[in-house]
C-alpha cells in the first residue's frame, strides 16, 4: 500500500510534545526553509512552487504559483491567509493552526517574500480562540527569534504578520468576503469581475489569498525542492492532501495521504485509517468534498482521491472533507441539514440564495416531518434551478458567489439516487428512519 509510505508534509509534528512552541518547532528543523528561501531570489522560489504545482487547498484547487503570477504590478501588495475554516465537516486547518502555528508562519513569510508583500494578515475563524492564542504566542516567539519583523535573519527582507480574528460568518471564507471583513465591513462577497484579489484585493491593492494548508506546504517545498513535491501524487494532484474524515466511520480524524494514490475505499476501510463504517453497517452515500459537493455512492469506492478523478465522476475534492453515511442515515434529513446551514449563512445579497434557501429548507423540513406532497419534489428542483440554472455540475451561477449554488447538489443527489426515500416520507407521512437520531421537534428550528 504505497499511499501510506509517502512522507507527511504538513502534519509530521502534530504528535510532538507542545508542538505549537518554538522550542519544539526548532528541534525538528523549523525555520530552516525560511533561512534557505532568503538566500534564493523570489523568482527562483516561485519557479520551485510552479514545479511543485501546489493546488490551493481551500476548495477551488487553483495552482498557487499561477495565482502569484497574476499579481498586478503595483505597490503595496498584501498577503492574506485564509484560516476561516467553516465548511461543515472540514477540520484540517483548525488542527494545523493549533498544532503547528510556526509552520504556518514560516510558510506565510516565504510566500510574502516571493510576492513582495508589505504585510501579512492571517484571518482566523473567531470561534477558534485557542488557535488564535497559540498563533499569536507563536508569532511573538517568531518576532523574538528574528523570523518575522525587520531584517528577517539579517537579510534585507522585512515583513509584519498580523493575526486577525473573524467574528462568526461562514461566508467570510469566500476570499472577497474575507477581504471586506478584514476591511472592517460586513462580509459581503464582492461582485466579479475582477475575479481575482491578485488584481484588486485588500484596500484595492493587489492581494494574494491562500489557504492555511496551501502555505503550510511551503517550508517543505523549499527544503526538499519542487521536484520532490511533484514526485508525489499524480496529474494535477501533487504532494499530499490532508483529508478530514467524519460521519459514520469508526475512526474519524485528519489523515495526510499522498495525493491521488488512495481510493475512497482505502480511506474509509483501511484499519489504520477510517477502519470501516460504524457498527459494520452498510455504506449508503458519501459526501466527497465538503457539503457543497454532489454526493456519490458505494459504486464509487474505488475512485482515487484525486482532484481529477473526483471531478470525473461529477463531484469535487473541494475542501478535503469526506463524510460517509450508513444505511440508517435519512437522506432527506441530511439534505435538510445542509441546506439549512447554507440558508443560515447566506449573506443575503442575492435573491435566489437568500429566498430560495429559505424555501428549500422549509420544503425539506415538511417532507421530513411527514407533511410533504408529491408535487414538492418538482418544486424543490424548480427552486434549485432558479438558484443554479440547469442544476449542473460545476454549477451555473446566478449569484454573486457560489454559496447559493452549493445548495442544489445535496437535493439533486437525493432526487436522482434516493427518490424512493423522498416518496416514502410523503406516502407514509413520516420519516422511515430510526427515531433515536431524529430531532423530536424539528419544526421548532
Amino acid at each position: 500500500m504505497t499511499y501510506t509510505q509517502a512522507p507527511r508534509i504538513v502534519t509530521p509534528r502534530l504528535l510532538n510534545e507542545r508542538s505549537w512552541t518554538i522550542g519544539s518547532y526548532l528541534s525538528s528543523g523549523g525555520y530552516e526553509g525560511l533561512r534557505r528561501a532568503l538566500t534564493m531570489t523570489p523568482q527562483a522560489i516561485h519557479d520551485q512552487v510552479n514545479t511543485a504545482n501546489i493546488l490551493g487547498r481551500g476548495g477551488a484547487g487553483f495552482e498557487a504559483g499561477r495565482k502569484w503570477g497574476m499579481l498586478r504590478q503595483s505597490q503595496p501588495v498584501y498577503l492574506t491567509i485564509n484560516g476561516d475554516e467553516s465548511e461543515p465537516a472540514t477540520f484540517k486547518d483548525h488542527a494545523l493552526i493549533e498544532g503547528d502555528p510556526h509552520q504556518l508562519i514560516e510558510g506565510a513569510v516565504i510566500c510574502a517574500y516571493v510576492i513582495g508583500a508589505a504585510q501579512v494578515f492571517i484571518f482566523v475563524r473567531g470561534e477558534f480562540p485557542l488557535a488564535i492564542e497559540r498563533l499569536q504566542a507563536a508569532l511573538n516567539e517568531a518576532y523574538d527569534y528574528g523570523a518575522v519583523g525587520a531584517n528577517i535573519f539579517a537579510s534585507s527582507f522585512s515583513v509584519d504578520v498580523v493575526v486577525h480574528p473573524g467574528a462568526g460568518a461562514y461566508i467570510c471564507g469566500e476570499e472577497t468576503a474575507l477581504l471586506e471583513s478584514l476591511e472592517g465591513k460586513r462580509g459581503y462577497p464582492r461582485i466579479k469581475p475582477p475575479f481575482f484579489p491578485a488584481v484588486m484585493g485588500l484596500y484595492g491593492a493587489p492581494t494574494i489569498v491562500n489557504n492555511v494548508e496551501t502555505v503550510s506546504n511551503l517550508p517543505w517545498v523549499i527544503q526538499n525542492g519542487g521536484d520532490s513535491f511533484a514526485a508525489l501524487g499524480e496529474g494535477r494532484s501533487k504532494g499530499t492532501k490532508l483529508l478530514a474524515l467524519a460521519g459514520h466511520v469508526k475512526r474519524p480524524g485528519n489523515y495526510e495521504l499522498e495525493w491521488a494514490k488512495a481510493t475512497f475505499r482505502d480511506l474509509i476501510f483501511d484499519p489504520a485509517l477510517g477502519g470501516g463504517i460504524r457498527d459494520d453497517n452498510e455504506l449508503k452515500a458519501i459526501i466527497p468534498g465538503g457539503v457543497s459537493s454532489p454526493w456519490i455512492g458505494p459504486e464509487h469506492l474505488d475512485v482515487s482521491l484525486s482532484n481529477e478523478a473526483i471531478a470525473g465522476i461529477g463531484s469535487m475534492a473541494g475542501s478535503g472533507s469526506v463524510i460517509p453515511m450508513d444505511h440508517t442515515a435519512c437522506m432527506v434529513r441530511a439534505a435538510w441539514r445542509i441546506v439549512r446551514f447554507f440558508h443560515r449563512e447566506s449573506c443575503g445579497q442575492c435573491t435566489p440564495c437568500r429566498e430560495g434557501g429559505g424555501w428549500l429548507e422549509k420544503i425539506l423540513e415538511r417532507i421530513e416531518m411527514g407533511q410533504g406532497r408529491e408535487a414538492d419534489l418538482d418544486l424543490l428542483m424548480d427552486i434549485c434551478d432558479n438558484i443554479s440554472p440547469g442544476v449542473t455540475w460545476p454549477p451555473a451561477q446566478t449569484t454573486i458567489c457560489v454559496l447559493g449554488p452549493s445548495m442544489p447538489p445535496s437535493i439533486a443527489a437525493g432526487m436522482s439516487r434516493f427518490r424512493d426515500e423522498y416518496l416514502a416520507h410523503i406516502r407514509e407521512g413520516r420519516c422511515p428512519f430510526p427515531p433515536d437520531r431524529l430531532p423530536r421537534r424539528l419544526a421548532r428550528v
Binding site: L15, A89, T90, H164, G184, V291, D436
Partner: protein, 239 residues
C-alpha cells in the same frame, strides 16, 4: 453598560496601529468590548466608533452581521452545541435536546440564574469528535448526555474557571511586537505595551504572560488540543 475602560482604550489603539486603515481594527476592538462587558452595549459601540472614525450606526450595522457578537447580555457560559451534518449523524440533536432539558431553556435562551446561554451552532470544526460543543468557544468533543451533565456540574461548581475564560475573551495572548507596533526609530514600544498589559490586570491580559497554551490543557476532556494529537495518532503509517 459602559464605554471602553482606559486600559482597553490603550488596547484598542494598539490594534488600530496594526492596520493600514483604521476601520480594519473594528472587529478586533469589538471583541475587546465584548470581552469587557460580555456583550456589545450601545455606549460601547459609540465609543468604538469614535476610535475608528465611524458613526455608531455603521458600527452596529457591521457588528450585527456577525454571529459571535451579542447585543444583549448572555449567560456566563455560552454553550454552543453543533448540530451540523457530521455531528447530526452522531446524535447531535439528542444531545441538544438533552441540553435543553438539563438547562431548561431552548436554543437562544439563558437560564434564570444567568449561568448558561444555549445555542444551536453550525459546524465548529471538531467533527472528528462528534458530537461536540463549545463553552465560551472552548472545545469539548465526544459529548454524550452523561458527559454533558458532568460538564455542567463542573462549570456550576467553578471547577473549570481556568480552562474556560469568561464569555467574550478572544485572546489571552497579547501582541507584543511588530513593525507597526514600534515607534519610528526603534524598540521600546514592546516594553511599553507589555507594561500596559500588566497594568490592565484584566483577565485577558493577566494571562498574557502565561506560557502559550499551558493554561489550557483540556486533554482529559478531548478538547481540540487533544484532538490534534488524537487525530495525528491516526496519521501513523501502518506497518
Amino acid at each position: 453598560m459602559a464605554r471602553l475602560t482606559p486600559d482597553n482604550v490603550v488596547r484598542a489603539q494598539e490594534l488600530v496601529a496594526l492596520y493600514p486603515e483604521k476601520r480594519s481594527a473594528l472587529i478586533p476592538i469589538l471583541h475587546v468590548l465584548q470581552e469587557q462587558d460580555g456583550y456589545l452595549s450601545e455606549d460601547g459601540m459609540l465609543h468604538v466608533g469614535e476610535i475608528v472614525g465611524l458613526e455608531a450606526v455603521e458600527v452596529k450595522g457591521t457588528a450585527s452581521f456577525y454571529d459571535m457578537f451579542h447585543f444583549e447580555p448572555v449567560g456566563k457560559y455560552l454553550v454552543a452545541v453543533c448540530t451540523n451534518i457530521a455531528c447530526m449523524l452522531q446524535g447531535a440533536y439528542r444531545l441538544l435536546e438533552h441540553a435543553e432539558e438539563a438547562l431548561g431553556v431552548a436554543p437562544g435562551g439563558t437560564t434564570a440564574d444567568g449561568m448558561f446561554t444555549l445555542e444551536d451552532a453550525e459546524c465548529l470544526a471538531l467533527c472528528g469528535n462528534a458530537p461536540c460543543l463549545t463553552v465560551n468557544w472552548r472545545f469539548f468533543g465526544d459529548v454524550d448526555p452523561e458527559g454533558f451533565d458532568v460538564l455542567v456540574d463542573d462549570l456550576r461548581a467553578g471547577r473549570l474557571e481556568a480552562e474556560v475564560p469568561p464569555h467574550g475573551t478572544l485572546s489571552r495572548v497579547g501582541r507584543r511586537q511588530g513593525l507597526r507596533a514600534l515607534p519610528p526609530g526603534g524598540p521600546g514600544r514592546d516594553e511599553a505595551a507589555l507594561a500596559g498589559e500588566d497594568g490592565a490586570g484584566g483577565d485577558g491580559m493577566a494571562a498574557a504572560h502565561v506560557a502559550p497554551g499551558s493554561a489550557i490543557d483540556l486533554s482529559t476532556r478531548r478538547s481540540t488540543a487533544a484532538t490534534a494529537v488524537v487525530d495525528a495518532a491516526h496519521l501513523e503509517s501502518p506497518k
